[in-house]
């Protein structure tokens, strides 16, 4: 694998130059006069809120669609891919959030898909394919049998396989779209170090991300988009690029308004929800899934309890168990002093529990359906009469009032929800539960895929709901978020609660220690 190394030594100016690229759709300008450069052997961060134009730019660069005007130069030649295959052949590979591996095929088959090495009779040479694959995945630090089916790999491993495949295609620019969003802390560290190694090999990387800390840690330079325009370029100047600077470029206002700590609220409510010795069953179908190993927890009326934990700590499993979405093996749950045993979400909802799930697209929204249906679906009984007919006027009035109080930006109640930004979708999902007046609301990663600006709004909404007496359990992997809104914080690790402290006393360092101690020890073994 020498071509990448051979290309590295000559300090060429720019591998990729985007010059004044504009993209219009049916009169809407998604991207306006954007220019940027990526040089060999550097990591460029591409940042911006949702709707800033990042995905449009990625689609243009990966050959999904052409720009309306402007020019792209790749390796000194005008770059006009007609389709994604073209772009790949020319040396630009894009790795999307939703991975493009075929789960039923093996690692080797995926790497060599469409170009399997052939033996003398023109038949596939499986041995050569395996040997070559082993060498290719070793380059990204993967040590596994290439005949393993991809479905048996973790998300992080799959991602590395994609990167390995890109390298084997002799890609010179790898675009990574939110590669870390599904990874644990250790996996992120590993990915970062591989990105660093590729940089040394002279590969150019464009790193598209929401996670500012990570971008700051690894990027040499950053290009920030805002509302389809270039908001500016940032350079690593001695040290890493500072977060407030990035945020200011992204939102066009100072970062101090975001993540403001709330004043300590007086939470004197009674215990609403109490969990004792909660355990879940190990599913033989998913042996690696996290199980709860005896969780004790109290949640008071009017408080926001932050649950901090890394991916795989069991935080989502805890939420699902309380909500009746997963089966419970042992333990008790009491709500307002009464023991409850919800067997389905419908049971939990009837008891006054709501859940805003972690994966909005797959678990919460009905993408193609209108906002009105998305809003009222959990409260159909409240917006219909005894004969089962919808009371549409009441339903619409309710939506209109939430639209105002939660400032949901939408065109009409009939608009399909997929047309809304992540933040507005999340507000509709919050409204869905508010329509039921829940006693307990569990929110899992409430601001995932939500713009920086709308995050603060979602936090504000949660605080207001708590003030109305709702007991809120907020699960999040973003510590600044946990710190910003929680009255009390518990940490989880491997299906257990590992610590608890008042929000006012917590710091990122303290929480991180409780969340990750065990895992970092393991990683060093």
């Amino acid at each position: 694998m020498s071509p990448a190394e051979a290309a590295a030594p000559s300090p060429s100016p720019a591998l990729l130059a985007v010059e004044g690229v504009t993209k219009r759709f049916a009169g809407v300008t998604a991207l306006s006069d954007v220019s940027l450069e990526v040089r060999p052997g550097e990591i460029l961060g591409l940042l911006g809120e949702n709707g800033a134009g990042k995905s449009t730019l990625l689609k243009i660069l990966s050959g999904v669609m052409p720009p309306s005007s402007g020019r792209i130069v790749f390796d000194g030649v005008e770059f006009n891919p007609h389709n994604p295959q073209d772009a790949k052949r020319l040396g630009i590979v894009t790795i999307y959030q939703e991975l493009s591996l075929i789960p039923t095929l093996t690692v080797a088959e995926n790497i060599f898909i469409g170009r399997a090495p052939l033996g003398p009779l023109g038949l596939v040479s499986w041995r050569k394919m395996e040997e070559d694959s082993r060498a290719i995945i070793a380059r990204v630090g993967l040590d596994l049998d290439p005949t393993t089916p991809v479905s048996a790999l973790s998300v992080a491993e799959q991602q590395l396989v994609e990167i390995a495949r890109a390298l084997s295609l002799k890609s010179r620019l790898i675009i990574m779209d939110e590669p870390t969003s599904a990874l644990t802390e250790t996996e992120v560290q590993k990915l970062m170090s591989i990105m660093g190694r590729l940089r040394k090999d002279g590969v150019a990387i464009m790193f598209v991300t929401h996670r500012l800390e990570e971008a700051s840690a690894i990027c040499d330079r950053m290009t920030v988009l805002r509302d389809g325009r270039l908001a500016g370029h940032l350079d690593r100047d001695g040290g890493p690029i500072k977060l407030p600077k990035i945020i200011e470029k992204m939102v066009g206002r100072a970062a101090s308004e975001l993540y403001a700590r709330p004043t300590l609220r007086d939470v004197a409510g009674d215990v609403r929800l109490s969990v004792r010795g909660l355990r879940t069953v190990r599913d033989p179908q998913a042996p690696h899934a996290i199980v709860l190993e005896g969780v004790d927890l109290d949640l008071k009326a009017g408080e926001i309890l932050g649950v901090a934990g890394l991916v795989g700590s069991g935080r989502t499993e805890l939420a699902r168990a309380i909500f009746g979405a997963d089966r419970i093996a042992a333990g008790t749950i009491t709500l307002d002093g009464k023991t409850i045993a919800p067997e389905t979400p419908a049971d939990a909802i009837a008891l006054g529990i709501g859940l805003v799930p972690e994966d909005r697209k797959h678990q919460a929204i009905f993408a193609a359906l209108g906002i009105l249906t998305n809003f009222s679906i959990a409260a159909l009984g409240r917006y219909s009469n005894a004969a089962g007919f919808m009371a549409e006027r009441r339903e619409r009035e309710a939506l209109a009032s939430y639209r105002k109080t939660l400032s949901i930006r939408m065109a009409s109640p009939e608009q399909p929800i997929e047309g809304l930004s992540g933040g507005n979708q999340q507000k509709v999902i919050l409204a869905r539960w508010l329509a039921r007046d829940p006693k307990v609301l569990i929110v899992d990663e409430p601001t995932r895929g939500v713009d920086v600006g709308a995050k603060a709004e979602v936090h504000q909404i949660l605080v207001q709901l708590a003030a109305r007496g709702i007991a809120i359990m907020m699960i999040s992997s973003e510590l600044p978020e946990v710190l910003a809104v929680s009255d009390r914080i518990v940490t989880m690790r491997r299906g257990r609660i590992t610590g608890e402290m008042p929000g006012i006393e917590a710091t990122e360092e303290k929480l991180m220690e409780l969340m990750a101690l065990d895992q970092t020890q393991e990683a060093t073994q």
């Binding site: 759709f25 049916a26 009169g27 809407v28 909500f323 979405a325 389905t344 979400p345 419908a346 939990a348 909802i349 009837a350 859940l355 799930p357 797959h362 678990q363 919460a364 929204i365 009905f366 993408a367 193609a368 359906l369 249906t373 009222s376 679906i377 959990a378 159909l380 009984g381 219909s384 089962g388 007919f389 919808m390 549409e392 869905r432």
Partner: protein, 338 residues
């Protein structure tokens, strides 16, 4: 609607939106115009009512199928189920499997049309319920369950009837297939009433919302507190009910229940639903679309026949129209999205 004037973005999108909801309807209108120009007698009320009578059988089943496809399901068993329900209705109507046309006047052992109707729809609904149960509890995909059903119900039909037809019903039963109310055929009225009822259920009731939600995203529906399994079972009960109703009307019209009735109906029915704009992936579609889809197929069949196009060629044309209709729908949607 004829907004050729504005070139604003908004206007452009609205025209596409309009086309999207009325595309099949406009295509239907176009076909009627073409056939009328080719042969003016096509538009005669007699012929129009004839078409309405023709589409009412598959149309009734298509109404039920709309519910199923909205949940991203499919029911391939409807043709066989129709034959089975028809046979059950015949047995009840005549009080046995005797195949005598002359018996109708002195049919003393029979239980009358109402019992026959009731038997057909109850058996249809129960058969649908069993299939729905297999789909939700045994976790067998709808395609497989109803493919099995297709064979099972045909076999049951042949078993009861010994392979032959059961014919000769009394006049009160035949009225449901051949009668007129004013100038309008009774089957057409039954179809229209059922369509309106289905439209109201899907558009204005809690249950209708739930059907769309389950089809739109079953996991989100479950996490929103819907009893997804019950809703899934219910749509197969509904399509079974309509297969039973269609069977009754068909038997009444032909004055006979044939063991080979309804072969291939599942394809016509699914075509009508899909041409009408209901997505096979669930969550999107309407009863209005299905009615238009059924009418489109009916007009096409009748119009081609009217112009002496052979039935072989008819199949080719209808198949191509199905593909084109879906391609057109896709194309429109991709335009709107962009």
């Amino acid at each position: 609607m004829t907004s050729t004037t504005e070139q604003t973005q908004r206007g452009g999108i609205n025209v596409a939106r309009l086309l999207m909801s009325f595309g099949p309807l406009m295509f239907l209108a176009l076909l009627i115009v073409v056939f009328t120009v080719l042969k003016p007698s096509f538009i005669d009320p007699i012929n129009i009512f004839n078409i309405m009578r023709q589409i009412s059988i598959t149309g009734l089943i298509a109404l039920g199928m709309t519910f199923v496809i909205l949940t991203a399901g499919i029911d391939l068993s409807v043709g066989s189920l129709l034959a089975f329900c028809g046979m059950v209705a015949a047995v009840v109507a005549k009080g046995g499997t005797a195949n005598t046309l002359s018996l109708s006047t002195s049919g003393t052992q029979g239980f009358g049309w109402f019992a026959a109707l009731l038997a057909a729809v109850v058996v249809g609904a129960m058969a649908g319920g069993v299939q729905g149960f297999a789909i939700t509890r045994l976790k067998v995909p709808p395609f497989v369950v109803t493919l099995g059903g297709l064979t099972v119900f045909r076999g049951l039909t042949l078993t009861i009837s010994n392979g032959g037809p059961i014919s000769g019903f009394d006049a009160s039963m035949r009225w449901f297939g051949t009668g007129l109310i004013g100038p309008v055929p009774v089957p057409a009225i039954i179809f229209a009433a059922a369509a309106i009822l289905c439209h109201i259920v899907l558009r204005y009731t809690r249950y209708g919302r739930a059907v769309y939600a389950v089809g739109g995203n079953a996991e989100a529906a479950r996490l929103s507190g819907l009893r997804v399994d019950r809703i899934l079972i219910s749509v197969y009960v509904i399509v079974g009910f309509f297969a039973g109703l269609a069977a009754f009307v068909l038997s009444a019209r032909l004055n006979s229940s044939e063991a080979v009735a309804g072969i291939g109906y599942e394809l016509t029915v699914i075509s009508a639903v899909v041409i009408g704009g209901t997505s096979l992936f669930g969550g999107i579609g309407s009863v209005g679309g299905t009615v238009v889809g059924a009418a489109l197929i009916g007009v096409l069949q009748n119009g081609l026949q009217f112009n002496n196009v052979s039935s072989y060629t008819q199949s080719i044309v209808i198949g191509l129209i199905l593909i084109l209709a879906v391609a057109f729908d896709r194309w429109l949607k991709s335009r709107v999205r962009r």
